[in-house]
Symmetry: C2
DNA sequence: CATACTGTATTAATCATATTAGTACACTTG
DNA sequence: CAAGTGTACTAATATGATTAATACAGTATG
């Protein structure tokens, strides 16, 4: 399904959270789609089921998935409600990175180009190549 | 000088790296300015000198500071040379955050506004381009 | 109802890392 | 020389991540 860096200083469960979040945001996993079971994914990635569960729990806390006992873990609906608290956190991180980019010599127009490139993937499958 | 969250899951030395990097980028610490000595900062923050040194070494590896034995640690000149490898890393992180922002309902125009806001240097007597 | 899936919880052991503590050495400055 | 600086090293401790094993509860299906 994807790769993990077991040697990384970044904990496995955090890598899992990041990757799964990315897949959800990019709608590789669609709303209400079932994620791999804790045990199945653990076997697939050759890591402990507890580590998978820890990642799933974190994703649930962050609102990206919901879980039903006995059924499985599923991708949350993106309900359109603005979570201002979370937005503030993301914008704060964003500001730091933008400043660092400026420091490295990236120009504002370059960043705006990035934004344009990633703008709202509303339509169907959009993979240019 | 600044505050650390000793309870945070984020290591102290990483918090230090982030904060110092921020101060350097925003030119609170100017090029060739001397940073607090390892021992002085350790005493100031009530943490171990080794932890400070670890942060300083990391900042040196990232090119933000340079150190002279017996003299001290100093802010690097921003030499204007494009470190494309580092830029790619930052842009990659940036893309993830931008996508997450979109997912949370932030509009492209909002992000562009953030860029415009940060475009101007903090120092004061600088000029725009 | 039995079986086999699912999520969840708990405990313990192990491993890796961060942090502290103490000491030592080399260099610079006055 | 004395007092400041960075740097290196070892050891002990603390914290967190990961694994392991087990158990329990809910769901689906034949």
């Amino acid at each position: 399904m994807f790769e993990l860096d077991l040697r990384s200083r970044k904990p496995i469960y955090e890598q899992l959270v990041d990757k799964l979040k990315e897949l959800i945001i990019n709608e590789v996993f669609k709303p209400d789609e079932q994620l791999p079971s804790v045990r199945a994914l653990a076997q697939d990635l050759t890591i402990n089921p507890n580590t998978i569960q820890k990642a799933y729990r974190e994703l649930e806390n962050q609102g990206f998935i919901y879980s039903l006992k006995g059924k499985g873990n599923f991708v949350s609906q993106n309900n359109g409600v603005m979570d201002t608290q979370k937005i503030d956190l993301v914008l704060n991180e964003l500001e730091k990175l933008i400043q660092e980019a400026f420091y490295l010599g990236v120009k504002p127009s370059d960043l705006i180009a990035v934004i344009e490139k990633l703008k709202a993937p509303k339509g169907g499958d959009e993979y240019y190549d």
